[in-house]
Symmetry: C2
Subunit: 340 residues, 2 copies
């Protein structure tokens, strides 16, 4: 199945136009990231550098820069984008402690190399440093938005923990988890960028809506890809969520439609954590039976479409930067299109 929202044959959508438009700013963000990881305590730049050098899409700081770009840019956008990436990096370090995932983005996780203690503390350092960077923008509203987002991220992660191992979790609870743990930071990243560039209230709100819907689409796709048997280009281990007893949309769909025997399988595996060889392959086969991956992708497409609707509201208000709006539109298509 083609996961785009249109059926016209076309080149696969990508982040490339957005990345290209913001390349100069992102170079400054990367330099600022290195500069602000500096510490007299050598472990801090070492561990933080390991995480940040591992790369990743840097989608959140891109959204901050794009949000600022919608309103003509701001000298504070670089620092704010750096802060947003630090918040995200802090949550990744703390996730490693929680998931004990041995591989992230194709490299050993920081906690596998340095231990839980270092991951917790360097995460805390990056989080505190993010707030220092935000203070430097001089914008209390931005600080309020990102501190609220940070609290919501942790609420999302805690709720995710409490639904782990519960295969009959309602889809609404799953959507609530990913809204908090992922989408809110996408939203705050874009909106705070617009805000620091003194965008009008409707533009700030539309940027927030765009980021929120984009974040939902991305997380749903990420979770669906975790049930892909082929390796993916994210370096993330397929099947991690299954073995971590994480409850995500494909499983919720298949459980909802499943037979008693299949439900017993889900209960034994993601429910009780009693895994046997071949269980992941069985899980993938059951998901296939209910079209659960494609149905998850359809949900991601729904959110990506909503992100584009929010963009249209920005275009109505402000057509000053059509190339940026086009690039953001393609980013929304990309979010729900990545190959499974």
């Amino acid at each position: 199945m083609n996961a785009t929202s249109t059926d016209t044959p076309q080149a696969a959508p990508s982040l490339a136009p957005l990345v290209a438009l913001l390349a100069t700013d992102m170079e400054q963000v990367n330099a600022r990231i290195i500069a602000r990881m500096a510490s007299d305590v050598p472990l801090v730049p070492e561990l933080a550098g390991h995480l940040i050098a591992a790369g990743g899409k840097r989608l959140r700081p891109l959204l901050t820069l794009a949000g600022a770009g919608l309103a003509g840019g701001s000298p504070h956008a670089i620092g704010l984008a750096t802060a947003v990436e630090f918040i995200h990096s802090a949550t990744l370090l703390h996730d490693d402690v929680i998931d004990e995932s041995k591989l992230r983005r194709g490299r050993d996780t920081a906690n596998a190399l340095w231990g839980n203690d270092a991951s917790v503390l360097v995460g805390d350092f990056l989080f505190a440093r993010a707030f220092e960077l935000m203070v430097e923008t001089g914008n209390l509203s931005v600080l309020g938005q990102l501190s609220r987002a940070s609290a919501q991220i942790t609420e999302g992660e805690i709720k995710q923990m409490t639904i782990a191992g519960v295969p009959d979790t309602p889809a609404e609870d799953y959507l609530d988890v990913i809204r908090n743990k992922t989408a809110i930071l996408f939203a705050a990243a874009a909106a705070s960028g617009a805000e620091v560039a003194k965008a009008s209230r409707p533009i700030i709100e539309a940027a927030h809506a765009y980021g929120l819907q984009l974040g939902m689409a991305f997380q749903i796709m990420d979770d669906a890809m975790d049930y892909s048997l082929s390796s993916d280009d994210m370096g993330k281990n397929s099947g991690d969520d299954f073995l971590d007893q994480k409850i995500t949309l494909p499983l919720i769909i298949a459980y909802g439609d499943g037979t008693d025997t299949e439900r017993q399988f889900w209960q034994r595996t993601v429910g009780d954590g009693a895994f046997a060889d071949g269980d992941f392959e069985t899980a993938c086969a059951i998901l296939q039976r209910y079209d659960a991956i494609d149905r998850s992708v359809a949900k991601a497409v729904h959110y990506a479409d909503a992100a584009e609707t929010a963009l249209a509201r920005i275009a109505d208000q402000n057509s000053a930067n059509p190339a940026l709006l086009d690039a953001l539109s393609e980013a929304a298509k990309f979010a729900a299109h990545r190959q499974i």
Copy 2:
């Protein structure tokens, strides 16, 4: 030995006058703490409540209230004091993950009851909520001071981790660790209270100096008390630091003056972590031999005296609240006086 800085017989100094003066404000802080731990995710108030209900001296919010009181108070002092306590509580939750200490303040630690995951995440929640509370004060300078302090706390804890198990650590490195991990937050608590109440710059700086010196005295005494064979009223387990291979002042003093045989003992125990029955008693006996506890207390007295010097600078500028200044002076004496 009597650990006060004077030799005149007198009632043991205590925190009671400070607590009494600020009792009404502290009731409001306690109410605000409960109110701002609210979350739709039930585990958050449950776990945070466990930690905060456990009590403790609430010294940091007291310092914030006192700092504000030096300049006639502020309607933002309650929220700011709540934020300061949340930052401290977040570091305690994360310390539990790091130390894996099974008992804190005489109760089971949160992570022994709920697991590392919950401790990391609820700590993050409290930290983010602290920043929300600070944003509500509308004071960017206070936000800058406390975000910088938060980064320094983690740098102190990381450095503490890197000197763990290294018995020939210089005393300067230990003092640097406790300045960052403990004293800086005492300083920022007092100074930000003064700042939010619009105190003059010299008063804010003197409040910072008072808090810093008081924090040094408290931490040195806490560390010295960990080598007390008798139980203490903090509910902290005697000997925890020794078993955690933490390097503190009494050990640094005894190692510095020790014989080769004693140094081999320190290396085997706190150095290599190869503990045997009776080692803690042996450690205490060696410390006794070099008067290492009393010499540590003398160092705490030195810092407590410096705290009083800073207070005198406040009294020179502002004698509007002599009862508060007296209570802060007694708190400094208390810091270096607690019975070993």
